[in-house]
Symmetry: C2
Amino acid sequence: MAKLYVVGIGPGGREHMTYKAVEVIKASDIIVGYTPYIEYLGDLVEGKKVFSTGMKGEIERCKVAIDMVKNGKDTAIISTGDAGLYGMAGPILELAEEIEVEIIPGITSAFSAAAELGSPIMHDYASISLSDLLTPWEVIEKRLENAAEADFVISIYNPRSKGRKDHLKKAVNIILNHRSGETPVGIVKNSGRAGTEITIATLDNIDYEKVDMISILIIGNSNSYIKDKRIITPRGYNIK
Amino acid sequence: MAKLYVVGIGPGGREHMTYKAVEVIKASDIIVGYTPYIEYLGDLVEGKKVFSTGMKGEIERCKVAIDMVKNGKDTAIISTGDAGLYGMAGPILELAEEIEVEIIPGITSAFSAAAELGSPIMHDYASISLSDLLTPWEVIEKRLENAAEADFVISIYNPRSKGRKDHLKKAVNIILNHRSGETPVGIVKNSGRAGTEITIATLDNIDYEKVDMISILIIGNSNSYIKDKRIITPRGYNIK
């Protein structure tokens, strides 16, 4: 019986894919995904049937992938990062009936960016997407407020798009209610793939114009600090 | 010049390691790590010098690894999961002076467990460790309270040890102040490696005796539900 694999390919660079993700893509008859993500796969998809669509085609892609499995084809539907965080695993499982589905985990961009920035996460943390396409902005604000109050390290996905230029500034202002302006902020564009750009800033001096939808931010907790151009969040070990 | 690699090896199974992690371990002269984690590496460390210690030897291992690099040996210090979450990246960067350090990201157990459970994370989420060895319990309680109030999916690391049998029950009671007893809870022991045991429960019917330090819990948000023995958290797409 054919099977549907929901595959997190990691941030885009082949070196951060898992063996399982590569094996599953090689073994699948058909690859389904958002066009730019298919391009990250390069020669891995050579000779395979590919179905790709542009932005906002998520549900269409899910339905096509499920149909292909029902037609007897082993199919891999691709997410960047981890398919289970803001990815394709959820809608596939919501839609799938009577077919076998396996989810393959991948490196989500917060961990890719953290490795590039030093060790900014290290401790309890919260992940928040600033996209209000699917989530009311009031819910997002409430989560920012609570995460800041509890002193979580905060990773921010989808920080800024053309249609929502002000969300990130609003988010930072909420966090500033609970955290010093000196708090380190790491901003990584194209984390874990070609064209990586790393910026280390503080809550008080973020250059908002440089942040876009393919950036991820990691905001330190009250103990985070900058050393040798890296952000470190201590876990509490007695280091001496 | 020799280099120190801080390597997240993922949850333990070779298939969930990244190409970069395997490549770096193969290229290193010396491997440093907690004894059980070195065992996950199997033949990857054959022929290599290995320095391993037991629990609570974290800072000793970091110092040994740094010394080895200073003596000219390329060295890999191993964390399970991702080295930048409750792992070795932080203490290494706190201690390292005048040596080159590179952090290699890995699949953290929350994402491994999520893939095994269905799609329980999918949306904004918070990661909390219940270990109070390095973090005051009051801080942990505050984070649980805020995460529950903000309707984050919550992943719980280090849920229960022999010395802290009651932490998980206390944590669940805090979460129950804000979330229904029907909320799905996924419990995975040995996620992503040999001996995986998956349990799907609700906040009201967790079997606390079955949870141990090598378990991870994922607690759904107010929209999470169970379908075909999997936990699904919808992101908000109109699925019809």
